[in-house]
C-alpha cells in the first residue's frame, strides 16, 4: 500500500517540521526521527511514581511524563493518540512520554475523572479530544503559574516549551515545579489549541505499543498468570437461551487435574449482553485438562423453541415482511409511494447481508481472583469500567473492592469482548465457588457461538426515475433480526447510510421491521454502515445506470453543494481515473459512505476471468475525517478496515441452522488471508473546518459495494448478497 498525503496536509507538516528544526525539537517528518513514547509489557503497572498534576498525567523528577490512558488498546492506537494529545498541549518532547492504563477502580468509584472509559464508535479522538487536550493544557498552565509564583514574575511572561519553563533569566525543567503546580487552582482554565497551533498532532508518529508486540512481551488478558490460578473450559447451550437437561459428570471424575464441575445458570429475566447462558464449566489445573475433560462429557440440552430457526427461515420471514408496511424511520418530501405507483420508470431490487461474528484473534477469556479483601480482574473489554461493575454485581460486592487490570486486547471490533459477553461473570462465579483465581478461556467454537453477532438484514429498495434519469422517489424496506444491544440501538444503525443518505432524492420513505430473534446481536466494526453501505451504494449504481448516468457523475450531481462529500468525490476522481469504459472482464467501481462522521470514498479495480475467478487488483480509499492527528495510524486503520469488511463480503457469513451456528471455527468461517488482500492506497481529503470524524471504522463500508459495482462492470452480474464468493461470476 502507499500512503499519499493530501497536499494541504503535507505542506503544513513540512512547515511545522522546519519550525521544529529551528527550535530544536526532535520531531521530523521522516519516521526514524520521530522517537516514540514507550509502554510497558504489563501496561497496568505504574512505570514511575512521579507527581500527579491531574488524573491524566504525572511528571517524574527526570522530566518523564506518564500519561494514564482510560481507553483500551485494541490495535486502534488509543495509547498513542491519547498520549500525543496530552504531549501536544503539555508541550513536552514525545520521547519523554510513557503511557500506562488508567486505574479503573479510581475512575469508577471516585469521581469519574476520565469522563468516559469506553473505547468504541471511533470516538477516542473525534469525540474525546476536547477533554483530553484540556487535561494537558491545564497542566501546562499550572506549571507556568507555579514557576511564575516562585520566580516572582507574571505567569503571562512564562514560556512552557518542550518540557522547559523560562522567563527572562529564569529557566527550569517541568519537574522542578510539578509539586507546586499540583496544588494550584487556575482562575480560568485555558482553551485547547486550534489545529493551526499544533506542533505534534498531524505528524506521522509510530504507535507506542508496537515494540512490545514483536517480542511476545505484551500481556493480553489471556496471558494472565497468578499464584494458585486454575483454569476453566465452558460449554453453553449452542442454541442461545436453551437449557441444560443433564450431563455425565462420571466421565470426568477422577481424571488427572480435574478440580470441579460448575453449572452456569441463566437467570430468568436477565438477558443483557453480559448475562449468563445455561452451561457447564470444567475446572482443572491446566486449561488443556479442563478442555479435554469437557469434550468427553456427554451433555444433553433442551434447545428450546428456537431450534428450528435458520438463515432460510429468516429469509422466508423477510420475503413475507417485504409486503407488509414497516415502522417509518425517515421520510423526506411528499407522497413517495404515490409517486412510485404512478411513475413510468421504476426499478426495484432485494439485497441481503447475513450474520457475521467478531472473531477477535484473542478468544474470549477472563481471569478473576476473588478473596475476602479484594477482587482482581483481567478481561478483554472495550470499556474496562464494565468488568468492574459486572463482577461487583455478580458477586454482590462493593465496587471499591474490585480492581481491574487493563491488559492489551487481541482485537475488539465493536463486540465489547469481556464487557458484553458472559465470560467475566463466569470467571467471577467460578472463582467464588472454588475459592481460587480462575482463568476462563472459550474455545474458538464457543467464542463464535456465544458471541454477540452482527445482525443480518434483508432490504428491498424501489426507485422511480424522472425524465432526466435521476430518481424522483425512493423507498427502502428493511427486515432486521436482532436481540440485545443491536435491538436497542436499532433505530440508529438499522437504517444508517440508507435513511441518512446525502443524495438529493426529492421524495424518500424508509421503513424497517425489527424482528426479535433469539441470536444475541450487537455492534460490529462499522455497525449498520457496513450492511447498508453494500446495499445502498450498489442500488445507487443501479439507479444511475438505469437512468443512463455515469456512477461518479451521478454522485457528484446528487451531492451538489455538500462540501465534505464533493471534496472526497473530486479527489477520488483525480486519483483513481475511474472509468466505465473497460474491456469485459475488467471493471472499476466506486462507493461513498458516511460512517462515524467521516466521509469515505473508495474505488476498486477488479478483473474476473470467464470462469468467474475474481481478482481485486486495487482499492483506493479517500477519507474526509475533518482532521487527522496521526496520518500514519490513520492509514493503518483504513487498510485494516478495508480488509475487515472485504473479508465478510467475500468469504464470510455465519451459517445459521437448527437455531445455532454451524461454521464456528476458521476452517468453515473464512476470513481474508494475506494472499487474498488487495493493494490499498490511502488518500486524505480533509475539510479542516471545525468538525471531526472517526478513523477506526469508515474504511470498511464503502469497500464491498465498490468491489461489487466493479464486478458488475466486469461481468454484467449484479451481486446483491454476500458472501460474494458463493455467487457464480462467470461470463461469456
Amino acid at each position: 500500500m502507499s500512503m499519499v498525503m493530501d497536499t494541504k496536509l503535507s505542506r503544513r507538516t513540512l512547515i511545522r517540521t522546519m519550525i521544529g528544526a529551528g527550535g530544536g525539537m526532535l520531531l521530523g517528518f521522516h519516521l526514524p526521527g520521530a522517537v516514540a513514547a514507550v509502554v510497558a509489557p504489563k501496561p497496568w503497572t505504574t512505570l514511575t511514581d512521579g507527581v500527579e498534576i491531574n488524573a491524566w498525567l504525572a511528571i517524574d523528577t527526570d522530566g518523564t511524563v506518564t500519561v494514564r490512558v482510560p481507553h483500551s488498546e485494541q490495535g486502534q492506537g488509543a495509547l498513542t493518540s491519547v498520549s500525543m494529545m496530552i504531549a501536544e498541549e503539555l508541550d513536552v518532547p514525545y520521547k519523554d512520554v510513557q503511557t500506562v492504563f488508567a486505574d479503573m477502580n479510581r475512575h469508577v468509584n471516585y469521581g469519574k475523572e476520565y469522563i468516559t472509559t469506553s473505547t468504541n464508535g471511533s470516538a477516542v479522538v473525534r469525540r474525546q479530544h476536547p477533554h483530553i487536550m484540556q487535561a494537558g493544557a491545564s497542566a501546562r498552565e499550572r506549571l507556568k503559574a507555579a514557576a511564575a509564583k516562585s520566580w516572582g514574575v507574571d505567569s503571562i511572561d512564562v514560556v512552557a516549551k518542550q518540557g522547559m519553563l523560562s522567563a527572562g533569566k529564569h529557566s527550569a525543567g517541568y519537574a522542578e515545579f510539578v509539586k507546586l503546580a499540583a496544588e494550584i487552582t487556575l482562575e480560568e482554565e485555558p482553551q485547547i489549541k486550534t489545529p493551526d497551533q499544533w506542533w505534534l498532532l498531524g505528524n506521522p508518529i509510530p504507535r507506542v505499543d508496537v515494540p512490545v508486540k514483536v517480542n511476545g512481551s505484551a500481556q493480553y488478558s489471556i496471558d494472565t498468570r497468578l499464584d494458585g490460578m486454575i483454569y476453566a473450559a465452558v460449554n453453553c447451550c449452542p442454541v442461545p437461551w436453551g437449557s441444560l437437561i443433564r450431563y455425565d459428570i462420571d466421565a470426568v471424575k477422577g481424571r488427572k487435574g480435574i478440580i470441579a464441575v460448575v453449572e452456569l445458570k441463566a437467570i430468568d429475566g436477565k438477558t443483557g449482553d453480559s448475562d449468563m447462558q445455561n452451561g457447564i464449566a470444567v475446572v482443572a489445573d491446566t486449561w488443556y485438562h479442563a478442555k479435554t475433560a469437557l469434550d468427553l462429557m456427554t451433555i444433553e440440552w433442551d434447545y428450546g423453541p428456537d431450534s428450528n430457526v435458520s438463515n432460510e427461515s429468516q429469509a422466508e420471514e423477510a420475503q413475507r415482511l417485504f409486503d407488509v408496511t414497516g415502522e417509518v424511520s425517515n421520510e423526506v418530501g411528499g407522497d413517495t409511494l404515490e409517486i412510485i405507483n404512478t411513475s413510468g420508470k421504476v426499478i426495484t431490487a432485494d439485497y441481503h447481508r447475513p450474520y457475521e461474528t467478531h472473531a477477535r484473534m484473542e478468544p474470549i477469556n477472563a481471569t478473576v481472583s476473588v478473596t475476602d479483601e479484594r477482587i482482581d480482574v483481567w478481561s478483554p473489554a472495550q470499556d474496562q469500567g464494565l468488568p468492574l461493575r459486572l463482577v461487583a454485581d455478580q458477586l454482590q460486592r462493593d465496587p471499591r473492592e474490585v480492581y481491574v487490570h487493563t491488559p492489551f486486547i487481541g482485537g475488539a471490533f465493536g463486540g465489547g469482548g469481556g464487557g458484553r459477553t458472559a465470560v467475566t461473570r463466569q470467571a467471577a462465579e467460578i472463582s467464588r465457588q472454588v475459592g481460587r483465581p480462575v482463568k476462563v478461556i472459550w474455545t474458538r467454537e464457543e467464542d463464535i457461538m456465544q458471541d454477540k453477532q452482527r445482525a443480518p438484514v434483508h432490504t428491498q429498495l424501489t426507485a422511480a426515475l424522472g425524465e432526466n434519469g435521476l430518481p424522483t422517489a425512493l423507498t427502502s424496506r428493511a427486515v432486521w433480526f436482532t436481540r440485545g444491544a443491536a435491538r436497542r440501538i436499532g433505530p440508529s444503525t438499522a437504517d444508517y447510510s440508507i435513511s441518512t443518505m446525502p443524495y438529493l432524492v426529492p421524495n424518500r420513505r424508509h421503513e424497517r421491521h425489527n424482528v426479535a430473534a433469539h441470536i444475541p446481536t450487537t455492534t460490529h466494526r462499522g455497525p449498520g454502515a457496513n450492511q447498508n453501505g453494500f446495499i445502498i451504494e450498489q442500488f445507487v449504481d443501479e439507479m444511475a445506470l438505469a437512468g443512463d448516468w455515469d456512477p461518479l457523475t451521478w454522485r457528484m450531481e446528487m451531492t451538489e453543494g455538500m462540501e465534505p462529500w464533493q471534496r472526497v468525490l473530486q479527489k477520488l476522481k483525480d486519483v483513481s481515473g475511474f472509468t466505465t469504459d473497460l474491456p469485459k472482464g475488467e471493471g472499476m467501481g466506486i462507493a461513498i459512505i458516511e460512517d462515524h462522521r467521516s466521509i469515505c470514498g473508495t474505488c476498486a479495480t477488479v478483473s474476473v476471468t470467464r470462469r468467474g475467478q475474481l481478482n481485486i487488483e486495487k482499492v483506493i480509499v479517500v477519507i474526509n475525517s475533518g482532521y487527522v492527528i496521526n496520518p500514519l495510524n490513520a492509514a493503518e486503520q483504513l487498510e485494516g478496515s478495508v480488509c475487515w469488511e472485504l473479508s465478510h463480503a467475500l468469504y464470510g457469513g455465519l451459517d445459521l441452522k437448527d437455531g445455532r451456528f454451524m461454521n464456528n471455527n476458521f476452517d468453515t468461517y473464512n476470513l481474508m488471508r494475506i494472499n487474498q488482500m488487495p493493494e490499498v492506497e490511502v488518500h486524505f481529503a480533509l475539510s479542516e473546518d471545525g468538525w471531526w470524524g472517526g478513523m477506526g471504522e469508515p474504511g470498511g463500508p464503502p469497500t464491498p459495494p465498490a468491489v461489487a459495482n466493479a464486478i458488475y462492470f466486469a461481468t454484467g452480474k449484479r451481486v446483491r448478497s454476500t458472501p460474494i464468493n458463493k455467487h457464480d461470476l462467470s461470463w461469456i
Partner: protein, 157 residues
C-alpha cells in the same frame, strides 16, 4: 510423565501427558505466553513456533513429537528487538492489536531462513496460514521484504 524439552536453548522438564499440544505446555506449564491460542485446529497460525527451524502450529503438535528437538518461540528471537524481522516489523509499524504477530513473525523468520529474498508470491504462500483480523497483511508483506534487506545489508558490512 516427565518430558524434557529444549526451548530457546533452555532445558525444561515438565510433567504432562505426551499427547498434550505443545502450545499448552509452552504457555501453561513453562509460562512463555508470547505464543498464542487462537483456534486449536491449525487454521489461524497464532500459535506458530519453530521446531528445528521449521514453522509448526503448536496447537496441533504433540509435546512428545518435540522431544529431543530445538524449539524456538517468539521470546527466543531476541529480547531487545534486534532480530531483523522484529526490526522490520517496528519500522513498518506492522502490529495493530498484535495478538497474531508472534505467529506471523515466526512464520516470516522461517521463510527468510529458507528463502533470503522472497517474492510476493513466496510470501503469500508461506504466510497464508497466519490470520490477522486487524488486516495488517500489506505491512507484513512490506516488512518481510525489509527484513530481507536488513539481513543482506548486515552481511555486506
Amino acid at each position: 510423565m516427565t518430558i524434557n524439552l529444549t526451548i530457546n536453548s533452555t532445558a525444561y522438564e515438565v510433567d504432562v501427558e505426551p499427547e498434550t499440544p505443545l502450545l499448552w505446555v509452552i504457555r501453561d506449564n513453562i509460562g512463555l505466553t508470547g505464543t498464542k491460542f487462537g483456534c486449536g485446529i491449525a487454521e489461524c497460525g497464532v500459535c506458530t513456533v519453530h521446531i528445528d527451524g521449521r514453522p509448526v502450529k503448536s496447537c496441533s503438535t504433540t509435546v512428545a513429537s518435540a522431544v529431543g528437538r530445538e524449539i524456538t518461540t517468539i521470546e527466543g528471537l531476541s529480547k531487545d528487538n534486534s532480530h531483523p524481522v522484529q526490526r522490520a516489523w517496528i519500522e513498518h509499524g506492522v502490529p495493530q492489536c498484535g495478538y497474531c504477530h508472534s505467529g506471523q513473525i515466526m512464520s516470516a523468520t522461517a521463510l527468510l531462513s529458507r528463502s533470503p529474498k522472497p517474492t510476493n508470491s513466496e510470501i503469500d504462500a508461506a504466510m497464508a496460514g497466519n490470520l490477522c483480523r486487524c488486516g495488517t497483511y500489506l505491512r507484513i508483506r512490506k516488512a518481510i521484504h525489509r527484513a530481507a534487506e536488513i539481513v543482506q545489508d548486515s552481511k555486506r558490512s
